[in-house]
């Protein structure tokens, strides 16, 4: 042990030149790359400056209307799930797949057009010349037509995705209609177009009902 120490003492000066240059250069570049990776990881936290998200989608449950106040084919506009996301609720008068209520004909969809965000209007059957036999949601900006009888799917026009449906619940004892969630796709402007991550509908505004 002491002889090694002596040798190392004597070689103090020579040690400098005996270092394996290639190994040192290799380690230098590896160390640099390693530091780059580590710092990239740390820089990931700037995502904190991005939009606020809900940790778990906590859908508010709000009462939209009572069935006694609903007239057939007269839409009601209400905000859900945020105070700046309007939706249309309408009693269609004919039974549809996702309708609620005693006649299974009450539906609600987002009012924001999936094309460029204009507000759509409800057009009852017979009021449009293009699709006379269907209830429609019509967007006046670029003439987009959504089929109100069939999940607001696209009939014509530039939009690429159907309107997001509002999940409704009907309380038969009181006649109240509650909005309890949203279905895919995501509301226009909240996320990538057509995305199915509906929790994004809770982003970027204040929840209705003070939530």
């Amino acid at each position: 042990m002491s002889s090694t120490a002596e040798e190392k003492t004597v070689m103090k000066v020579a040690e400098e030149e005996v270092i394996n240059e290639s190994r040192r250069n290799f380690l230098k570049s590896m160390a640099f790359l390693s530091a780059v990776f580590a710092f990239s990881g740390i820089l990931g936290i700037v995502r904190a400056l991005g939009p606020i998200q809900m940790k778990i989608p906590e859908w508010p449950r709000i009462k939209v209307a009572n069935i006694k106040d609903l007239k057939e084919k007269e839409p009601i506009i209400f905000n859900y799930p945020l105070e700046n996301t309007p939706n249309i609720l309408v009693k269609l008068g004919k039974r549809v797949t996702n309708g609620v209520g005693p006649d299974e004909d009450i539906v609600a969809y987002s009012q924001i057009c999936q094309h460029l965000g204009c507000m759509v209007r409800f057009m009852p059957a017979g009021s449009s010349s293009e699709f006379p036999d269907r209830n429609l949601f019509y967007c006046p900006c670029h003439a987009g037509f959504y089929d109100a009888d069939d999940g607001a799917k696209i009939l014509a026009g530039p939009p690429l995705y159907p309107l997001p449906p509002v999940k409704l619940e009907y309380d038969s004892s009181t006649g109240d209609i509650y909005a309890v969630g949203m279905g895919p796709p995501v509301i226009f402007g909240k996320g990538p177009p057509g995305s199915t991550e509906v929790w994004r509908d809770l982003v970027g505004g204040k929840l209705v009902g003070g939530g």
């Binding site: 290799f26 590896m30 160390a31 390693s34 990776f37 990239s40």
Partner: protein, 83 residues
């Protein structure tokens, strides 16, 4: 490429894989995995710096073993324990 270089490259590949994994995770639901992954990455970097610092090859084997054990423990925690 000798064993030493292969070992160092393995550590670097490990860092890259962990980096990709933690940047892909959901930034709210899996925050703790992100933290643990970051911890493993920094420890791996520190290990490479230690190898670079003691270039004259008088490494303390204990420290290297401790470093690798720590990284392994953190990775196990990241995958199985933290949410």
């Amino acid at each position: 490429m000798d064993r030493f270089q292969a070992g160092v490259l393995a550590i670097l590949v490990f860092q890259l894989v962990v980096l990709g994994y933690i940047l892909y995770l959901d930034p709210i639901l899996s925050q703790n995995k992100f933290a643990a992954g970051l911890s493993a990455e920094l420890a791996a970097s520190a290990l490479i710096f230690y190898l670079y610092k003691n270039i004259r090859e008088d490494y303390d084997q204990e420290w290297i073993a401790a470093g690798i054990a720590f990284i392994a423990l953190v990775v196990l925690l990241m995958i199985f324990y933290v949410r």
